[in-house]
């Protein structure tokens, strides 16, 4: 069976599964559409949350980010998991007790202000729409690589599928398809990792293999990797190179950004009880950790395999004991067919600059003081000859690099699609809830019937799928950078206002509105100052370099500072404005105790 047939088979089978579940779980009321009738068990919800949260970025990009940077990018591992501790301790149980359907609804009720609710809707829409563009782009890339269709065709197939189960099933359908998607994506992620860990370290558990011994040389794997990359002039994998302050602030921005993401928070509205919301956050993190403890192993081992492909001597632990890989091998050897496959996509490229028939891969910037300097002098190298290596290849091409069987490659394709589609569905639900529940029912047409609202929710979901697909077809050039904006805004606007709403009975509407606006504007301004206004190149008024950053704080880390500004402004303004009215004080008292959550379904 050809690789194409295998890919088609696995992807079609997974899609048939999702659609089957969707038809079985159609939503018939707004309570089912927004919150699956609050009948999802904590373990099941944990699994759905894990799929909801782990996006194309987690599945495809994260291991590559770690692979090429090493220790410094541990920020992603800690940041994207530590946020669940904040969710479990500070937000999820109380928002579940509040017992309504959307995040802006809580902001509007707690701060007794339609204006606060609308600002919440604006924050939610900016965060979720930037996020969903990335998912749709991921769907297009995966389709075009594995099913040999055009990017646009792939995107429309993905959009049609999401339409089927999200519009029909709402939260109820999405929950159970996300459970299935979690199973697909975790199998797809761990199977190649297990094979590769066995090959390199002899340990079938990748998290243990990472700290195990390299089979070829008998040296600790990470020490071996450090030696290999420093031989070639790269920075040591396990060492700390960047600013400590910025690393702390970036990790914090990812953590509080995660806790403030509306599409993750609404998943906790689906469990029956407050104590289930706590437990469910724990289970979500267990399921997320299955991937997040494997990811650093995948990253480091893929980096090792890629480098050892270029310098075959590295397999036995001595980088320069054999000549670099030859151009003839790359162009004809069946073992290196993956290099030719990926060259077509533009994610990998090479050039024999000095015409010696070998492709030498090294780091030009750090070569002068590294062992590779002698090779450069001896072989007359004029530059690194592996000219393009995209981060995303580390996961997508991993099974091919390690020569794994064809069905493993097909599973990875289905897994990448599952990761992107499950997150897209969760985001679309958050967006449609904000439009139909907060804007239409909450503000424009308060007298709309339940049937009318359900229809409005479905129409706004269909419209958001259309917008997301069109944006995915023509991604704004800044798609990758906007992730910083999404996390920065969730961290600086949504997380602080929710936390103050629960933990302070003193902060009132004036404080909350001023705080949200201050946090949001300062973060947007700081990012635009270095990245350009709306990320248009050339419109930045400060150079985007560590020397120019304020106190060395990178734009991606600024969400933490934005959150502090939000808290400071909110408490400052509240100190000179009126206390919240009595019914709001009672609301705060009531969300702080678990008893009585069951009765909150009525709406």
């Amino acid at each position: 069976m050809s690789q194409f047939t295998l890919n088609l088979l696995f992807i079609t089978a997974s899609f048939a599964l999702y659609i089957g579940i969707a038809i079985y779980c159609r939503a018939k009321s707004t309570a089912e559409f927004y919150a699956a009738n609050r009948g999802v068990g904590p373990v099941m919800n944990g699994m759905a949350t894990a799929a909801d949260w782990m996006s194309a970025a987690s599945f495809i990009s994260m291991a590559g980010l770690i692979a090429f940077t090493g220790y410094d990018n541990s920020t992603y591992l800690m940041g994207w998991t530590g946020g669940y501790v904040l969710l479990a301790l500070l937000l999820a149980p109380y928002l579940r007790k509040f017992g309504k359907f959307t995040v802006p609804e809580f902001i509007g009720d707690r701060f007794y202000s339609p204006t606060a609710r609308i600002i919440g809707v604006i924050c939610l829409l900016i965060v979720s729409i930037t996020y969903v563009i990335g998912q749709m782009t991921g769907v297009g890339v995966t389709f075009s690589r594995y099913l040999e269709v055009s990017n646009a065709t792939g995107l429309w197939i993905g959009a049609a599928l999401v339409f089927c189960y999200a519009v029909l099933g709402g939260m109820k359908g999405i929950t159970y398809t996300q459970v299935a998607q979690y199973v697909v994506l975790i199998i797809a992620y761990t199977i190649p990792a297990v094979f590769i860990s066995l090959q390199l370290t002899g340990n079938f558990l990748p998290p243990l293999g990472l700290f195990g011994t390299h089979e070829g040389s008998g040296v600790a794997f990470l020490a071996q990797l450090d030696g290999l990359v420093t031989d070639l002039g790269f920075r040591a994998y396990t060492e700390h190179h960047n600013s400590t302050l910025d690393m702390v602030l970036f990790t914090m921005a990812l953590m509080i950004g995660t806790a403030g993401l509306p599409h993750v928070i609404i998943r906790f509205f689906t469990v029956p009880k407050v104590s289930d919301a706590r437990k469910s956050a724990g289970w979500a993190l267990v399921f997320i950790a299955l991937l997040y403890t494997v990811a650093p192993a995948v990253g480091s081992m893929a980096r090792f395999n890629l480098t050892a492909t270029m310098w075959p001597g590295a397999e036995q632990g001595d980088t320069f004991s054999q000549p670099a890989v030859s151009l003839a091998d790359i162009e004809t050897s069946p073992d290196l067919a993956w290099m030719r496959n990926w060259q077509v996509t533009g994610l990998l490229n090479w050039e024999d600059k000095n015409g010696d028939g070998l492709i030498q891969y090294y780091n030009e910037a750090g070569a002068a003081n590294a062992p590779v300097a002698a090779v450069i002098a001896e072989q007359g190298l004029v530059g690194n000859e592996l000219t393009t290596v995209n981060n995303d290849i580390m996961v997508l091409a991993n099974p091919e690099i390690a020569n794994l069987p064809g069905w493993v490659i097909a599973i990875v394709a289905a897994g990448g699609l599952a990761a992107a589609l499950s997150t897209a569905a969760g985001l679309l639900l958050a967006i449609s809830g904000a439009v139909s529940h907060d804007l239409i029912k909450g503000t424009l047409m308060p007298n709309i019937s339940e049937k009318g609202e359900l229809m409005a929710a479905r129409i706004s979901m269909a419209a958001s799928i259309l917008v997301a697909t069109i944006l995915g077809l023509n991604p704004p050039g800044f798609a990758a950078q906007t992730v910083a904006l999404a996390f920065g805004l969730a961290a600086s606007s949504i997380f602080p206002v929710l936390m103050m709403g629960i933990f302070s009975s003193r902060v009132g509407k004036e404080g909350a509105i001023a705080g949200m606006i201050a946090g949001m504007l300062s973060t947007i301004l700081y990012i635009f100052a270095y990245k350009g206004i709306f990320f248009v190149a050339g419109t930045n008024f400060l150079p985007d370099t560590p020397d120019a950053w304020l106190f060395g704080i990178s734009p991606a880390s600024f969400g933490t500072i934005g959150a502090l500004i939000n808290f400071a402004v909110a408490f400052g303004v509240s100190a000179i404005s009126n206390r919240p009215p009595a019914h709001v004080q009672e609301l705060v008292e009531s969300i702080r105790v678990p008893r009585g959550a069951g009765g909150a379904i009525s709406h």
């Binding site: 998290p207 104590s275 437990k279 993190l285």
Partner: protein
């Protein structure tokens, strides 16, 4: 009034548990994983040091333990104060 006092005591106890958990949360990630890593560099773990292990694996395992501890502790607290569901 006694209800309010009880719910106040419940809330204070909850806050204490949250403070303890968040202190550990910060220690294993920002502490051992980043800022205090140089202090732990003497303890080697599989080709690198303990700080690297905390940054890439240990902190995540501690986070899971923290959430389940908090869940267990709060279920007990809810029952003690009669506010469980």
């Amino acid at each position: 009034m006694s209800d309010r006092q009880s719910s106040n005591a419940y809330w204070q106890a909850n806050l204490r548990i949250i403070y303890i958990c968040l202190a550990i949360w910060a220690l294993v990630s920002y502490g051992f994983g980043i800022v205090l890593r140089p202090l732990l560099s003497g303890i080697s773990v599989g080709g690198t040091d303990l700080g690297f292990w905390f940054a890439q694996q240990g902190s995540i395992l501690c986070f899971i333990a923290l959430i389940f501890f908090y869940t267990w502790r709060m279920n007990r607290l809810d029952a003690e104060h009669g506010v469980d569901e």
